[in-house]
């Protein structure tokens, strides 16, 4: 049988244990008698079958009779009086005396209600209990005084087990504490030398199954005076009022599960008592008492121990909380530091990473990564970026909560096994799920040994017929387990610190967004002003320009005869310069308007666009004798027809212009790069461009040649082409070999 199989079977075992209906066993322990009574006349509906031993009457003699068959009127009244208060338990126990043939029998009467019946349990007691009570009151008082002087959780636990041992006289008293997975650890123990120590040992959650824990939470005290008892059946089995077995959850005599008895036997115990310790309404731990011989503890002493346990649990909770106080204060101060750093830095992420303390301190992690809008910033020991990206993807798809944390990442995310040295523990804080913005903290693997009280995997017996029998474990010897792939656990205040950081980050992001919106408003305003400026510049600058232009012409017209050729040449230069100035102003205006005109997007057949461009340039094409090649028809593309036409215009014009070859050619086409976007190109065998200018040529008014070479130009054409392509969501770039030719590429979305 492989290890895996065992694991599976243990799981079956646990579920079986969990299903055992231990609250309705139909039997009680025989050291007392149980009655189910009908109110208000106190008719006996059910009774345990051990009445003859304790009361001298057979159950048949009692069933369906009134309780006064046993008790005198005075006693009945006493009992009825204690039924009035809502909380029956306050009156417990009632001292009852039953007259037998020869002598009086003294009992503790313990009352509660179950499914509409009144349950009365009688435990025999001796008559000297008055003194006993005061003695135990005294003991409890001494114990409380000692407990109040204790300063740590460990001290309190130790005093508690010692005092309970004093009061009860059990051989062994232990304080057993549950963790978040319901595994338990013995945190204090008081015992004689000769017994094996259990202190520090760990017990698996399956030792105390769910429904048993539920009973511990309802009924805080449980006594089994002698495990080797013959259970007393309840007659009749079903309650006549409900026709169901009697619910014995609150009964003090309830019979014990056979599995539990076997378990205790294996431990060498004959009598046991357990007292629940509750914290904030949850089971926190147990005071577990063991005795090797049978041992009975009267109800009042049990009650005193229970009281002690409850008082102590308050103390312990307070101590446990205060032990972390110092660290919590430190965390608070780190938190406010981080908020301060975030607000000081331009980028809040720098504020979280670049200072001391940083986000690692906040939750005591060894590595952290901030994933924000696809950028990854890390600090400390973290997995590689690719691993972080994969992890974020997994978290994004599988974890819906704002925060997710585990001390054993590989268990839920098997790929993390190879990251064990840095990321056995993970805490992931989601800032924005849709944007995949996360803060991740990592903790390395901490290999440690856990001391179990015996192998926690219950033994499995396969019987001859193939059925599986699960028995409680038999060994409680130290059994060591090495825990791998686990980090230190994340403490609740560390998780809270992370959650608080989340609100701080969101606040910061919102504030930055506000600032950005403000900047945008200002940018828009200054854009508008710039737009106005370009208009005014183009209009107002052109006026004096026209003057210069016109008057230069007038000079040539009017004085052409009197001035010499040199003079005329200078005037012609003047006219040429004014024209150049006008071109520059027009380009500037055109460029500044480009971003502000709405695109008129529609499916556009680019063959039409290119051909009308070529028509426009036909004169120059003919003059320069350029061979235009279009290897295959161009596709139809969703774009602004006019503007994309201008892009082709610009590129073709450049290709014509910058060519010094004897046989010039231009090729216009597109590259198959499915599905979208489509990459178009305009290729020539022209003069080419040096690598270092590939970027610069797209800058406005940046030219590569003097105005007298290659027919001049304003240096705005490519800038305009770039802006148009970018407005269409595309890119434009150049590839060129100096002296051999250039290819301009740009992308456009095709028609979907």
């Amino acid at each position: 049988m492989s290890t895996n199989d065992i694991t599976n079977l243990v799981q079956i075992d646990i579920s079986n244990c969990n299903k055992e209906p231990i609250h309705i066993p139909g039997f009680i322990q025989p050291h007392g008698v149980l009655f189910a009574l009908k109110e208000p006349d106190l008719t006996i509906l059910q009774v345990s079958d051990n009445t003859f031993n304790l009361l001298g009457l057979h159950p048949e003699e009692l069933l369906n009779k009134n309780l006064n068959i046993l008790l005198e009127l005075e006693q009945i009244n006493l009992l009825k009086d204690s039924l009035n208060p809502d909380d029956l338990l306050i009156g417990n126990p009632i001292e009852l005396t039953i007259k037998s043939d020869s002598h009086s029998l003294h009992f503790d009467g313990i009352l509660h209600r179950s499914d509409g019946s009144l349950i009365l349990e009688l435990e025999p007691t001796n008559s000297e209990k008055g003194n006993a009570f005061f003695r135990f009151y005294h003991l409890v008082k001494i114990a409380m005084t000692k407990l109040q002087s204790a300063s740590t959780l460990a001290e309190i636990s130790q005093i508690l087990v010692k005092e309970v041992k004093n009061i009860t006289g059990f051989d062994r008293v232990m304080l057993y504490r549950f963790d978040e997975n319901w595994h338990g650890t013995v945190i204090a123990e008081e015992k004689p030398e000769y017994l094996t120590p259990y202190l520090g040992l760990r017990y698996p959650a399956s030792d105390i199954p769910t429904q048993a824990r539920k009973l511990y939470s309802t009924n805080w005290l449980r006594l089994i005076p002698n495990l080797d008892y013959q259970p007393a059946a309840i007659l009749p089995t079903n309650n006549p009022l409900t026709d169901e077995p009697l619910d014995l959850s609150k009964s003090v005599l309830r019979s014990v599960s056979p599995l539990h008895i076997e378990y205790m036997h294996n431990m060498g115990v004959t009598a046991s008592m357990s007292i629940s310790i509750m914290k904030d309404g949850h089971l926190w731990g147990l005071i577990a008492c063991h005795h090797q011989a049978p041992k009975y503890i009267p109800y009042e002493i049990r009650h005193a121990c229970e009281f002690l346990g409850q008082m102590t649990s308050l103390e312990m909770a307070a101590k446990e909380d205060s032990e972390d106080v110092e660290y919590k204060m430190q965390v608070k101060s780190w938190h406010s530091k981080l908020v301060e750093y975030m607000s000081l830095e331009n980028n809040f992420i720098d504020g979280l990473i670049n200072n001391q303390p940083n986000i690692l301190n906040l939750v005591n992690a060894q590595g952290a990564a901030i994933c924000f809008h696809g950028n990854y910033s890390t600090v400390g020991k973290t997995p590689e970026q690719q691993d972080i990206e994969n992890l974020v993807e997994w978290i994004n798809q599988n974890q819906q909560e704002e925060i997710f944390y585990t001390d054993s990442l590989a268990q839920v995310y098997p790929q993390a096994e190879k990251l064990r040295a840095v990321a056995s523990g993970l805490m992931a804080l989601s800032i924005s799920k849709s944007q995949k913005n996360y803060v991740l903290w990592f903790r390395p693997e901490v290999v440690r040994t856990v001391d179990w009280g015996g192998n926690p995997n219950k033994p499995v017996e396969v019987k001859q017929n193939g059925s599986i029998h699960l028995s409680p474990r038999k060994s409680f010897e130290l059994w060591q387990e090495t825990v791998l792939l686990k980090s230190l656990p994340w403490k609740s205040y560390e998780v809270n610190a992370a959650l608080e950081l989340r609100s701080a980050i969101i606040g910061m992001v919102l504030r930055k967004a506000d600032e950005l919106a403000q900047l945008n408003i200002e940018l828009e305003r200054s854009n508008n002003e710039l737009d106005a400026f370009a208009y005014i510049a183009s209009h107002d600058l052109k006026e004096p320009l026209r003057g210069i232009h016109n008057y230069s012409n007038f000079l040539i017209e009017d004085y052409g005869e009197t001035i010499n050729e040199e003079g005329k040449k200078k005037l012609k230069t003047l006219i040429r310069l004014t024209q150049r100035m006008e071109d520059l102003i027009d380009s500037l205006l055109h460029f500044s308007r480009l971003g502000r005109v709405d695109l008129s997007m529609q499916p556009t057949d680019l063959n039409h666009v290119v051909h009308s461009s070529l028509d426009l340039l036909s004169a120059r094409i003919d003059e320069m004798k350029v061979d235009i090649q279009i290897p295959r028809p161009l596709p139809t593309v969703y774009c602004d027809r006019i503007q994309v036409g201008e892009v082709f215009n610009n590129l073709i014009t450049n290709s014509i212009k910058y060519n010094d070859k004897a046989e010039k050619w231009i090729e216009i086409g597109y590259i198959d790069e499915p599905p979208l976007p489509i990459t178009f190109y305009v290729r020539d065998n022209g003069i080419g461009i040096r690598d270092k200018h590939f970027e610069a040529i797209f800058r406005i008014f940046k030219r590569l040649h003097g105005p007298s070479k290659y027919g001049g130009g304003t240096g705005a054409g490519l800038t305009i082409a770039k802006k148009i392509v970018e407005r269409h969501g595309g890119k434009i770039w150049v590839d060129s070999t100096y002296g051999e030719g250039s290819t301009f590429y740009f992308t456009l979305q095709g028609v979907k």
Binding site: R690, K692, H705, G706
Partner: protein, 151 residues
Amino acid sequence: MIGNFSRPLLVIEDSDEDFEALCRIMEKQSVANPVFRCSDGDEALDFIYHTGTYNNCQKFPRPAIILLDLNLPGTDGREVLEQIKQDEDIRYIPVVVFTTSSNPKDIEICYRYCVASYMLKPIDINRLVETIQSFITYWLDIVILPDAVNN
């Protein structure tokens, strides 16, 4: 007559009109220095390093002083300046910037690269003449320039 025949001046200037204005004023001052002109940055670097069309060292001597415009086609004046000042062999050549840009950033960058002077091209013709005359008088007459030919 101003200047020394053995101290060549290299003018890096893309505007024909500006260069003409400069030549006109130099002519009036009877400048003796040989004047070479490059109209863009790549050409200027070719000239200085005797590469490309300027590979004849006799015909195109290394300049004793450079008058540099900043906004040039292709490789621009700032890059030319950076290149000159990074090169141990030629960084000694005084570079005088002559530009329309009054941008404080440009001025700072140029002085960081240890230009000898930074001059603005004025629009007013009288101021322009004055500026160029001062440049000629100071740099070609008063100042002692390194001996380019023997270098």
